[in-house]
């Protein structure tokens, strides 16, 4: 399938939403953004995967977001007071620096995955790195799970451009779901969940 200009937009959206996930505070906005990230990813994957695989992956991503939402709701936590603006500004700036880092390691990525289109490499690396930053930034199960799902979303295009298989995609979808379930379970069972998001 040809690599259309829409795919580049979808890939750019992925990196943008990953940056947004780093900055946002409210859990509802976080989960809606995660669902949007999965939609952008699914749209980009249509360039290499058939609709069956894409729908499976997309549904798993949305279900994962729903599971985390359910966990957060069951946690019955009061809506946290928003953090000072500086926290978000610092995270946003760190995210911008990460994007700059991705541009600087472009040649390394090109050597590593020469068969993968350049836009895919950059979007994948940016999304994965922003997800990694999200994972490292917080000890809160919700943010951690969202960060890990963002890393997986970043890895998915690199993987998809090299491998297309029903069962492997099914396992990956299962992994996403179990990851979200585990995160949701930890959210429900955690004793440290009272810290702000």
């Amino acid at each position: 399938m040809p690599f259309a200009s829409w795919d580049v937009v979808a890939l750019a959206l992925m990196a943008g939403i990953a940056w947004l996930l780093l900055v946002l505070e409210d859990w509802r906005s976080l989960l809606i953004s995660l669902a949007a990230l999965e939609a952008a990813l699914g749209s980009a994957l249509l360039a290499v995967w058939g609709p069956t695989l894409v729908v499976m992956h997309l549904l798993a991503g949305w279900l994962a977001a729903a599971m985390l939402g359910l966990g957060q709701t069951m946690h019955r936590r009061k809506h946290p007071a928003p953090r000072p603006l500086t926290g978000r500004v610092v995270r946003g700036l760190a995210g911008v620096l990460t994007l700059a880092l991705v541009f600087s390691v472009g040649p390394v990525l090109a050597r590593a995955w020469p068969t993968v289109p350049e836009a895919v490499r950059w979007a994948a690396a940016a999304t994965a790195l922003l997800g990694l930053m999200q994972t490292a930034w917080s000890r809160h199960p919700l943010r951690l799970s969202i960060g890990l799902l963002t890393v997986l979303a970043g890895f998915a295009p690199l993987f998809a451009w090299q491998h297309a298989d029903l069962l492997t995609t099914g396992w990956l979808a299962g992994f996403q779901l179990l990851l979200a379930w585990s995160g949701s379970y930890l959210l429900h069972q955690t004793a440290v969940g009272e810290e702000a998001l």
Binding site: L148, V151, F155, F159, T168, L178
Partner: protein, 465 residues
């Protein structure tokens, strides 16, 4: 009948049923779990797979079909897999049977069937992607084993375990996407070096190799030692077998001397660092985590002997190690009674109320040490004999010895010499003393029969391609 029905589907369904069935105590359910797991181990040990077995004078025969397919992907449980298959389910039976004295909740019994069944499925996969993904799903499932519904999470340990697993998977999968067509490539090929780097990083995250080892003390502090020990032992063993299978598949891995040099350095480094860190731990749970990490050092040292010898050594020493790990975590669980949270457990003077169990805790800790010139721990003797003696190895083993024996000595003082601050909350019973004695006898018999295990391990390692 397909082998998958008996060793994958049946124990998975039975485990799910045992775990979710609301009635029945651990003491009642353990007989079911131990009987099923033990029966499956016995059948795997005795019945050939993939060949017809004559019944009633050759008029009828029974056949376990070795291969099954799922969406075009092959999964195989053939005769060569019987060695590790029998071991996995036999260990599961032992863990299930001892769960009642360790005061596990009834859900634990479900795990003793479901986890080995899932790992069997993973190891039966022929496609490396399937194997990696099934293993990662098993490791994710550990969160539910380690944090049963009646407990609250304490801190970041389980989240870190979740993160290491989820971050390792993409690295492994990306490594595997680069390897098709490069099975026999030279280790100097750039694509192979890149795949090797990704593979190494992924395995390091999954196995908690330094500097990712921090997951062990965190999980050790938060999780009941009996549950932690069970999860670590099974996933670690399956990961090692999967790694050996990958290494056997790729010439650039199995014929690469740098891999074995690196594994030896990793083994000695892990033993030494774990020994040092263990010696300075005040928290008992963190110490349990470091003992688990130290245990991985013996694995790396075994695998450093080469693919075939290394896998055989790992498997030959797996039985004594499994029994030691089971007995030690069981003794810790009994010593902690009536509490089940290790971070609240104060060991001072508890050995006076439960001397047999406390002695097992101290002896078990000491038995992990590389005792010089004393065949107390057969794995250390065998592995040190297998490794070429050099100053680095001797220094690493010396540090590990000092750390382990020093910690055992400190624990012995705390348990037996320091006074109890109040009346003992728990005293061991004669039944528990009998179990300590039975376990010690079994361990001595198993540990001192290296010939028998070597023969079994040689047969079991023929599973590698």
């Amino acid at each position: 009948m397909n082998a998958a029905w008996l060793w994958v589907v049946f124990p998975l369904v039975a485990g799910l049923g045992l775990g979710l069935w609301p009635r029945g105590s651990t003491r009642q359910k353990r007989w079911v779990a131990a009987a099923i797991a033990g029966g499956l181990a016995l059948v795997a040990w005795k019945v050939p797979l993939g060949h017809p077995v004559p019944l009633f004078g050759y008029r009828w025969s029974w056949l376990f079909t070795a291969e099954w397919r799922l969406a075009g992907h092959a999964f195989v449980l053939d005769d060569a897999a019987r060695g590790w298959l029998a071991a996995l389910f036999a260990w599961a039976a032992l863990w299930a049977w001892t769960a009642a004295e360790a005061r596990m909740a009834p859900d634990f019994l479900g795990w003793t069937l479901a986890l080995p069944a899932w790992l069997t499925w993973a190891l039966a996969a022929r496609d490396p992607f399937d194997r990696a993904l099934l293993l990662s799903l098993a490791q994710l499932g550990l969160v539910f084993l380690w944090l049963p519904y009646h407990r609250r999470a304490l801190g970041p340990g389980l989240m870190r375990a979740l993160a290491w697993n989820a971050l390792g998977l993409p690295l492994l999968l990306l490594a595997l996407t680069q390897t098709p067509g490069l099975e026999t490539a030279s280790p100097e090929t750039p694509a192979v070096q890149q795949a090797g780097l990704l593979l190494g990083l992924g395995v390091a995250l999954w196995a908690g190799v330094f500097p990712f080892h921090t997951v062990y003390p965190l999980v050790g502090r938060e999780v009941h030692p009996f549950r932690a020990g069970f999860g670590w032992w099974f996933t670690h063993t399956a990961l090692v077998l999967a790694m050996a299978h990958w290494a056997a598949h790729f010439l650039w891995l199995r014929e690469n001397p740098a891999l074995y040099t690196g594994l030896r350095a990793l083994g000695v480094g892990t033993l030494a660092l774990a020994g040092v860190l263990l010696a300075v731990q005040r928290d008992l749970g963190r110490a349990v985590g470091y003992v688990a990490w130290l245990n991985t050092g013996w694995t790396w040292l075994a695998l450093a002997q080469g693919l075939e010898q290394g896998t055989t050594a790992f498997l030959a020493l797996a039985w004594p190690r499994a029994l030691l790990w089971l007995g030690w975590t069981w003794a810790l669980a009994v010593l902690m009674l009536p509490d089940d949270a290790i971070h609240r457990f104060a060991p001072q003077g508890r050995g006076r109320a439960s001397p047999w169990v406390a002695a097992l805790v101290v002896l078990g800790l000491g038995a992990w040490a590389p005792w010089p010139g004393l065949n107390l721990a057969p794995w250390s003797a065998a592995l040190v004999a297998g490794a070429s003696p050099n100053p680095g190895l001797l220094l690493g083993l010396g540090v590990a010895f000092a750390g382990l024996t020093g910690t055992a000595w400190r624990w012995a003082q705390q348990l037996f010499v320091e006074p109890l601050p109040k009346a003992p909350p728990w005293r061991e019973t004669w039944r528990e003393r009998g179990l300590v004695l039975a376990w010690l006898l079994l361990w001595v018999v198993v540990a001192w029969m290296p010939g028998l295990w070597h023969q079994w391990a040689t047969a079991a390692s023929s599973w590698l391609p």
